[in-house]
Amino acid sequence: MTRILKTDNAFLLGTIGLCSFLALWTLLSLSGLVPRLFLPSPVEVAGRFIHLLSHRFADGTLLDHLWASMLRFAGGFGLAVLIGVPLGLLMGWFRLLDDIVTPLFDAVRFIAPIAWVPFAALWFGTGIGGPIMIIFAGAFPPCLINAYRGAKFVDPRLIEAARMLGTPDLRMISEVLLPSAVPSIIAGLRISAGLGWQSLVGAELIVASTGIGYMMVQGQGNVSTTTVMSGMIGIGIIGLVIDIVLRGAETAILRRRGLAT
């Protein structure tokens, strides 16, 4: 025992930590200190998670709900990238546009994405449009800011060389600013995807009739703690997958440019 306590083996310690966490959870649940209804054991949650994969709850299986959420996420995040990145690059090149948009953007940026919920519901309804707008509100600022910063920090020699060769404005943006800004943009996309995914969860808790957030609200209404926890696991997994994919893209791009080891 003392040997174990003195060990520096990170893997062993990690396993011990994880096991004691799960053991404590199980103990609390099984001993009845906390009612089983409110704190089901890890095994029960895992069982419910697997059960929900193939059985319908609140009009769909867990996979149906996750799919609905991911479609919304793709819509809101895609829009944020398609508008935010080009606008950021344009602002990085045209000073007039920069001076006009920046004060407006700074004023709107401070609004928490979740505070857009009432207007989103009023304007676009609670089906697809409303949640997409909230995801957009969360994902848009990092896209714009990072594209803008990337465009501002382009090597001036590149710009001068291109300008000397008479490059027109639009080609300058697409062939000089965009490629140099890519590392900054992709870092922005990671932040943006994280915030967008968070905002989606919030939006679905409040206004939605499908999706993983809706499933959790229904689970809460039916006092089914296992369903709520299964939803949390699903959200965590998808969030992780999104981050891993983007991180992979980031390293791949940096490596191709010889910036990463």
Binding site: D99, A107, L205
Partner: protein, 259 residues
């Protein structure tokens, strides 16, 4: 005045004029979709005078700000020590990190249904959710702060036989504090967003409750007033934290000036 401020203020002015023109004058945007300036003003007068959704504006603001402060303090008092511990002891890090890695990907807002299930719609549920939201950034940044400490400093202190408490007070905390404050700022933002979301889901008073009631009453003027209040409070709290940071880290800027 610089060119930037001239164009900036002109833009803001133009947008406000356009708002007035599109809503009040021509009614291109219907009053049911977006409020006119006068609608917004009337909503503001109503909520400050007669009250709306169980209270006047100051009551809602006080409620929300109090809950955020409480939840934030609980999170900081638990998160920062844990982060310091994980940064200091490799063993504690190895022990705790895997559990932390599992909980971390769950967004703070996803805890809301569980909190309601456990603690109902009252204040405790909100504090719990804020705690979860603010905890993770506090831990991560305190941890990173300890890891960024100068090794030479630590070794020098150890060689001189500095007692543990002095060491913590004189080296660990000051050295990690710039990163800790970065974490606090992130925590505070997360807390505020989460509280508004939790109040939107269910509450008796609070700014989120105002937004929720206004949405159900289809009252665009009040929605806008609520949004502005949420934004201003969030911003003011960040500013307050910034002032606290400058005060707490005064020695640091002084040290930088000496360099």
């Amino acid at each position: 005045m610089s060119r930037k401020t001239v164009i900036g203020s002109a833009t803001i002015f133009a947008v406000l004029a356009l708002w007035f023109l599109l809503t009040s004058v021509t009614q291109v945007i219907s009053p049911g979709r977006f409020p006119s300036p006068s609608d917004t003003w009337l909503a503001f007068v109503q909520i400050t005078g007669k009250g709306y959704a169980n209270g006047v504006l100051t009551e809602h603001i006080l409620r929300s700000v109090m809950l955020v402060t409480l939840g934030f303090l609980v999170a900081v008092c638990t998160g920062v020590p844990l982060g310091l511990l994980m940064g200091w002891s490799r063993r504690a890090e190895a022990l705790i990190n895997p559990v932390f890695l599992i909980i971390r990907p769950i967004p703070p807002l996803a805890w809301i249904p569980l909190a309601i299930l456990w603690l109902g719609l009252g204040d405790m549920a909100k504090i719990m959710v804020i705690w979860f939201a603010a905890f993770v950034p506090s831990v991560i940044n305190a941890y990173a702060g300890v890891r960024s400490l100068d090794r030479t400093l630590i070794e020098a202190a150890q060689m001189l036989g500095t007692p543990m408490l002095t060491f913590m007070r004189e080296i660990l905390l000051p050295g990690a504090s710039p990163m800790i404050f970065t974490g606090l700022r992130l925590s505070l933002q997360a807390s505020w967003t989460t509280l508004v979301a939790a109040e939107l889901v269910g509450a008796m008073t609070g700014l989120g409750r105002v937004l929720n009631a206004a949405q159900q009453d289809l009252y665009p003027g009040m929605i806008l007033v609520g949004m502005i209040a949420v934004t201003l409070c969030g911003w003011l709290m960040t500013v307050a934290l910034g002032i606290a940071e400058r005060y707490a880290l005064a020695w640091n800027t002084a040290a930088k000036a000496l360099d």
